[in-house]
């Protein structure tokens, strides 16, 4: 543990503040779960076009793979990558280290256990429980919990919640010790630690133990959306507010406007989730309230996007010459697109067509991969050379990584959006179900190839990372290290 009192903030060095190995460990764990998740997604895509290579294997059935796909990306990839990036950003932002480096490592190991057990519980939980009559008598299931995005088995929920509490304590210590008015990124991070804990508790415990029926459904809707809006969004934007100005070497266009964005998110976002359950028995005033809150959030989002484009104004060439910036701004454009889509699709008119269709799946991929994964992969592209003190093995592979990921996810989004519209109109015209399935197959074929492109991009990244690591073991590259200081003649 670093004694924060011994190192005055003004004299702190990077080595005093950031524990580089834990950043690397989180990023590598995140990438492992990204591969698991993408493999699972690919299997699901193959299942839809009747090419499932695991046909007939109960443990690897598509229903289980689907849950592994969503959970591995949310809790395995995004959470790990965010935690890695936060271990870099928060200490440098506040000029103070985290509360305790040993606690950081404990949380790292505990979180991998939580995510690993979740995957195991989803795949083998029910089978394992059926093997022993004593286990079958237990008051809880080894398998998935019946909450969308909250499939983490019930026996892991308290551990996950304790982990989130420890994360908050570890990171809040440096933020709370920071002097003077807080930079907007710190506001986002603080809020995320509180919101994520509350959101996880609400979504995993209320429907399981206290609520039933429509009420549980309404809370489930809040949970699904708050997981995106109150866990992923504040961490994502907080990191953008940190990384973009330091890479462009100029301050954010308007700090005041960025605070409007933050407080707007804080007050408008929490009621949005009900829009997942339009046309249900939930009272209409709640449904309409959610629609209005969603449209209000889009205005808030607009202020944030304007702020970032105001920042890069005059430095547009950085989109070509600076690859992490290109990752970030591509994600921002897709974020604007997804929020515009969100404002439209939450209206009752749109919902009548797209509800339950592949439109929603396209939207989810655009948000999770097209925005937040692109940002995190951009952060990794920026940080790995600093963490390993060497340049990338191949800049061409970095380019392939970017283009395959960005084009792949955009094709998938466009394809599924169209598929959703076709499906909605097939269903609306009351034609037989089979007709809508047959009409969807060409779109699902395109989705397989878009998914393969995204997967190929990550393989390029993994290979490049491996070769860069091998080069790093030989010592810092001459072009990466600073030149030795020239002795001054006395």
């Amino acid at each position: 543990m670093i004694d924060t009192q011994a190192v005055p903030p003004d004299a702190a060095r990077h080595e005093d503040l950031v524990d580089d190995p834990i950043v690397v460990a989180y990023f590598l764990a995140a990438l492992c779960f990204l591969f698991v998740s993408m493999l699972a997604g690919l299997l699901m895509a193959l299942q839809l076009v009747s090419w499932n290579p695991l046909q007939g294997i109960e443990l690897l059935s598509p229903g289980r793979w689907r849950m592994v796909h969503t959970n591995a990306v949310a809790y395995g990839f995004l959470a790990n990558a965010f935690l890695g990036a936060l271990h870099w950003a928060i200490p440098r932002l506040t000029m103070r280290p985290v509360l305790d480096r040993r606690l950081s490592w404990f949380i790292f190991v505990a979180w991998q256990v939580v995510v690993g057990c979740t995957a195991l519980g989803i795949v083998v939980g029910p089978t394992l429980q059926a093997m022993s009559p004593a286990w079958e008598q237990l008051p809880f299931s080894f398998g998935a919990q019946g909450v969308e995005w909250g499939e983490t088995p019930t026996w892991i929920d308290p551990l996950a919640l304790a982990g989130l509490l420890l994360v908050g304590i570890n990171f809040m210590a440096p933020i709370s010790r920071a002097k003077g008015p807080l930079y907007v990124a710190s506001w986002y991070f603080m809020a995320a630690f509180v919101w994520t804990f509350l959101t996880y508790a609400m979504g995993n415990f209320l429907p399981q133990y206290w609520l039933t029926g429509t009420s549980a459904g309404a809370v489930g809707g809040l949970f699904i959306h708050d997981l995106v809006g109150l866990f992923v969004t504040p961490l994502g934007w907080g990191l953008m507010y940190y990384f973009v100005p330091i890479m462009l070497r100029k301050p954010i266009w308007s700090h005041g406007l960025s605070l409007v964005g933050f407080w707007g998110l804080a007050f408008f976002y929490p009621l949005n989730g009900i829009h997942h359950f339009l046309y249900t028995p939930i009272p209409m005033f709640l449904q309409r309230g959610a629609i209005i809150a969603t449209i209000a959030v889009e205005m808030v989002v607009f202020t944030v996007i304007v702020n970032f484009f105001g920042t890069i104004w005059g430095s547009g060439r950085q989109l070509i010459t600076n690859l992490p910036i290109r990752w970030f701004y591509t994600g921002m454009v897709l974020y604007g697109l997804t929020c515009l889509q969100c404002a439209l699709q939450t209206t009752l008119t749109f919902q009548a067509v797209i509800h339950f269709s592949d439109w929603v799946v396209g939207h989810a991929h655009l948000v999770m991969f097209g925005v937040f994964s692109l940002w995190l992969l951009g952060i990794m592209t920026y940080l790995f050379p600093r963490l390993w003190r060497t340049e990338w093995y191949s800049r061409d592979l970095c380019e392939w990584h970017f283009w395959l990921s960005a084009v792949g996810v955009f094709v998938m989004f466009a394809d599924l959006t169209l598929a959703g519209l076709f499906q909605g109109y097939y269903w609306g015209s009351l034609r037989p179900w089979d007709v809508s399935v047959d009409g969807s197959v060409p779109f699902w074929m395109v989705r397989v190839f878009a998914g393969l492109a995204m997967f190929a991009g990550q393989l390029c990244f993994a290979y490049n990372l491996y070769r860069t690591w091998k080069a790093a073991r030989l010592g810092p590259a001459p072009s990466a290290a600073k030149p030795a200081p020239v002795p001054q003649a006395s």
Binding site: A191, G213, F267, L271, L286, T321, P385, R389, S479, A481
Partner: protein
């Protein structure tokens, strides 16, 4: 400018408060009048509790001068970063940055591992 701000603030806040107030009364009427209306209370309570917490945080921030010099934190953050990077063992330009005149081109497959492959950037950057 201040007058425009006040007009806009009142123009937005008054209708919003009116809308929120009437919807809240509607909610209470539903809760009292319909036995099944109680199920709407959990999402509303969730929202109110979360918002109340942030309202308190907002008031705390105002009282502690967090918004007094609202643009200063963005400069402080950059200065700190610059100082940390100056003392760091790597060059600030490390990472995927090309020379200023770089053009987008089709990336090639395979390695491009000239040990001096990024030298042009540093030379260009001085």
């Amino acid at each position: 400018m201040r007058r425009i701000m006040w007009v806009m603030a009142i123009g937005i806040l008054v209708p919003s408060l009116y809308g929120f107030g009437t919807k809240f009364l509607e909610f209470i009427a539903l809760y009292r009048g319909d036995v099944e209306g109680a199920f709407a209370i959990s999402p509303i309570l969730n929202y109110l509790l979360a918002s109340l917490g942030f309202l308190c945080l907002f008031l705390w921030a105002v009282l502690h001068g967090m918004f007094r010099d609202v643009e200063q934190p963005k400069y402080t953050m950059l200065e700190n970063e610059q100082r940390l990077d100056t003392e760091a063992p790597w060059r600030p330009e490390i990472g995927m940055q090309y020379p200023a005149g770089h053009r987008l081109r089709m990336p090639r497959l395979g390695r491009s591992t000239d040990p001096n492959r990024f030298r042009e950037f540093y030379e260009h950057d001085g």
